[in-house]
């Protein structure tokens, strides 16, 4: 599993906690997913290799191109690469939610039908290219008049082709509508509401509850109870972003001045990755979020832990860290519930140490990564809204000790 998160640490990650340890402890099933999904991917029609039409080009003048072998090797390499992809925590081909499942099913259907159409076109092209060579008996000349019977046959072919094309696209349109309807119907059963507000370049996540003091905020992570449809209300504070967790559902934009909604449900436990899918400026590339699907009871326990105010620092170093935090620039942007830090510019840090990653999925959480991030956020995520807060080495260590205690 560590192979999934080898994001290079800019600082000595060795001293930090194993970023994955926590996940194994919480019963992550990612390795099992691998076994589950492999056969499925193989069962579907394989994508056509790059240059699937090279055969045609070769036939056109095979004597001129000695590199068709190289092309073949490259095709095989591409196919191998496809197979090695297998499974991903951010893949539309490995659905774990009903919505993504329906979409993936529709995708394979489209692929099968359209690959067949493509094959027909390629065969026709190939035959058209080589066929006339067998008719050398035709008189030579720069051009000839088409023969009436052939013209009539071709016209009939054209009619059939047009009708066939129309039938295929009509059928596919019908399937597309049906899946669209199904997905909408799934959305009517949502039991839980989360409000996601996208900001340059992170995600503010608010768990709403009818009882106001049971609402809370977190950042860059969404945890869901397995099998429970969750309504996600989508807002943007600055520019347009797009909420996309491919394993669960397609994307929906977050647009300033508008409120969008989507419904996601995770059918299996596991950790998935989402990423902003609408270009939103400088650090669009590093605007990810973690989605963790957990059993209902674990989810409730997590929710209770999130509702609690921050853990009070227990040792001298952490108390010093809290003092530094509350008297430096940190407090201008961040909230730590239970303290006087209550600014809402940056992510709520009340339980930052319990999150899988920092800086919107840029680095896995570890004390070492956090140190690097606080020391120089502009080096890790250039252009990020987080400034360099001039802390001394000692202050940095204290703040780290404090933040690392905020489980």
């Amino acid at each position: 599993m560590t192979a999934r998160l080898p994001i290079p640490s800019p600082c000595s990650a060795g001293r930090g906690r194993d970023p994955c340890g926590a996940w194994e402890g919480e019963g992550s099933v990612i390795p099992r997913n691998l076994a589950l999904t492999l056969p499925r991917l193989r069962r579907g029609p394989l994508p056509l290799p790059p240059g699937a039409g090279e055969g045609v080009a070769r036939s056109a003048s095979s004597r001129q191109w000695p590199w068709h072998r190289a092309a073949l090797v490259l095709c095989l390499f591409a196919l191998t690469a496809c197979e090695r992809v297998q499974h991903g925590i951010q893949s539309a081909l490995d659905p774990v939610g009903q919505q993504a499942g329906r979409i993936a099913g529709l995708w394979w259907l489209f692929l099968a039908v359209l690959a067949a159409v493509y094959a027909v076109v390629l065969v026709l092209l190939l035959v058209a290219a080589i066929r006339p060579r067998r008719r050398r008996r035709l008189p030579p000349g720069p051009a000839f008049r088409p023969e009436e019977p052939i013209e009539r046959r071709l016209t009939r072919g054209l009619t059939a082709w047009a009708v066939g094309t129309a039938a295929i696209v009509l059928t596919l349109t019908g399937f597309s509508y049906a899946v669209d309807r199904d997905i909408l119907a799934l959305g009517h059963r949502a039991e839980l509401t989360i409000e996601v507000t996208a900001k340059q370049w992170w995600w503010q996540v608010r768990y709403d509850d009818p009882v106001p003091n049971r609402s809370f905020e977190t950042a860059n992570e969404i945890r869901l109870p397995v099998g429970v449809p969750v309504r996600v209300v989508l807002k943007a504070q600055d520019v347009i972003h797009s909420f996309w967790v491919p394993n669960l559902h397609g994307k929906t934009d977050l647009i300033p001045g508008r409120v969008n909604e989507t419904v996601i449900v995770a059918d299996r436990e596991g950790r998935y990755r989402g990423q902003c899918a609408e270009f939103c400026g400088f650090q669009h590339a590093n605007m990810a979020l973690d989605v963790v699907a957990m059993p209902r009871d674990q989810f409730e326990a997590w929710r209770e832990s999130q509702l609690a105010p921050a853990v009070a620092p227990s040792d001298e170093r952490s108390r010093e860290g809290q003092r530094v935090f509350l008297t430096s620039a940190c407090v201008m942007c961040h909230t730590v519930r239970g303290t006087t830090a209550a600014s809402r510019v940056g992510p709520d840090l009340t339980h930052v140490a319990a999150r899988p990653s920092i800086a919107a999925g840029t680095l896995p959480y570890s004390k070492g990564n956090l140190a690097g991030w606080i020391a120089d956020p502009q080096r890790i995520k250039p252009g990020s809204q987080m400034p360099v807060v001039g802390l001394s080495a000692d202050q940095l260590q204290s703040v780290l000790a404090y933040l690392d205690g905020l489980k």
């Binding site: 080898p6 359209l114 092209l125 051009a143 609408e278």
Partner: protein
Amino acid sequence: MSARDASRFIRRDGPSLGEAETHARLERTWATPPGLWGWLSSVDHKQVGRRYIVTAFVFFLLAGLLALAMRMQLAGPNQTLLTPDRYNQIFTMHGTTMMFLFAVPVMEAFAIYLVPLMVGTRAIAFPRLNAFSYWVYLAGGVMLWVAFILNVGPDVGWFSYVPLSGPQFSPGKRADFWAQMVTFTEVAALAVAVEIIVTVLKQRAPGMSLNRIPLFVWGQLVTSFMVVFAMPAVMVSSSMLIMDRLIGTHFFNPAEGGDALLWQHLFWFFGHPEVYIIFLPATGFVSSILPTFARRPIFGYTALVLALVATGFLGFGLWVHHMFATGLPHLGNSFYTAASMAIAIPSGIQIFCWLATLWDGRPRFATPLLFVIGFIVIFVLGGLSGIMLASVPIDSQVHDTYFVVAHFHYVLIGGAVFPLFGAIYYWFPKFTGRMLSERAGAWNFGLFFVGFNIAFFPMHILGLIGMPRRVYSYPAGLGWDDLNLLSTAGAVILAAGVLVFLGNVWHSLKHGLVADDNPWGAATLEWATASPPPSFNFVHIPVVTGSNPLWEEADGLPVVSGLRVDQRELLLTSVVDAAPEVREPSPEPSIWPLLSALAVTILFIGSIFTPWAVVWGSIPLAVGLIGWFWPKSAPDTPEPVIE
């Protein structure tokens, strides 16, 4: 007759006038004056067309270099070759340059050069406007690239979505340069569209009724109408953006009652037809090349024309499929799904007609035909992935991922650049009088085809396994590394193909085989004149008796006579039947289009910095236009004598 003073002896081009004499007199009348001044004031559609083609190719190469830079950055995870700021500028410049400064202008360039030749007339309609359009286009492109070099290149994507491109989130002048470049290029494109429409509808050779127009010309006609209806939408929206940024309007500011989605509607109302504005001329290349090398008339002429027209209409009903993720009502989205699917029908008909032409023909596999075959292989795949994108659920997954990047490169490179290369190999002898090397052409095609597929096919998979577009970097471990490396390798091969092409052009310009008038044995009128054509295109205006005039009239085309040879004169014909109607003068060379274009440039660039530029800049522009349109005295010579 040589004893008499030719300048005072007025004569029509008549059968009794000797061929050499007519030629010499026409040359005197139509030639562009020599020297720098002549070069700057030229209104010859062939010179302007050549300039357009060369300029567009320079932009193609520049944008290609940017693409290579991006592929280098993305060859592996967490690369730091480019900073995010530089990367964002580069991908914006790549898209903007390819779409606005290469693809549309190069298609128009071919129209400017070839349409008058293919319809058998002496000059394009409104030749001064044509010269003006080139200077404006050049100024817009140079402005954008100078801005990029000075690190004020746009960095908000070629689509410049608000609010990201608005005053709050894009301070500085980067987005303004983008918006003003749009204004420049759209002014140029609209001018060319009007010229093409008028040339096609009113200047066709006698007998070239609507059902005998070459398919390339049909494609350009439909395209020009699309330009006329699509481009104003983007000009309006880019002007609104500039106003939001410069003078504090709030068209797109939600906080003040504006709407961020308004931009997307306006932009894509242009942006989707834009794809067909690029693709339809390319279908014209294919429909020109295929019959020549299959050596039979195109199959399904009527069906192909109807498919072009149908695509032209349907192309305006698809724009919302770029906005399926924005949360628009589902019923509305469904309409656009159906419309997007429906466009497969005319496209399918076109593909069938081309296949049928090849099927029943006796193909000769010269380089242009290779590129056409490459076009079919690649474009069909891109079209089929387009059907996937038309489906709302599938689009919700792959929208704004590398799947879409793969799709539109298959459609645009496969659908437009492959035919374009084929067209260059095909018409190069007409443009220059020399043939391109066939051997280098095969290498060019092979490298291009293989490189293209290796570069772009993996992107389909990358998108499906979660890689979003427009990211300057990506973490390792998401399964994207190998495919990205493969893609970069393909890009390098593709670039090698382009290098072979450049070498071929460079070498063939000087050492290529000398081409005769009709080296490929083609059927359309541009091959009925010399290679390269004289300044007046045709000594006599040909008369057309069928769809493939040079095949049907193998013994020489009938011609009409009666146009003046001492003044620039065109023959106008009726819209449907191309029956001769009237003789029309055609303008002389003039420096005013260039001066007016300079005035427009000052106004447009100035208005990036101050709204007062619109006020003060209108003065030199008014001077330019007054000079341009200064009334000329009517020809003082009496109606010429017919010999």
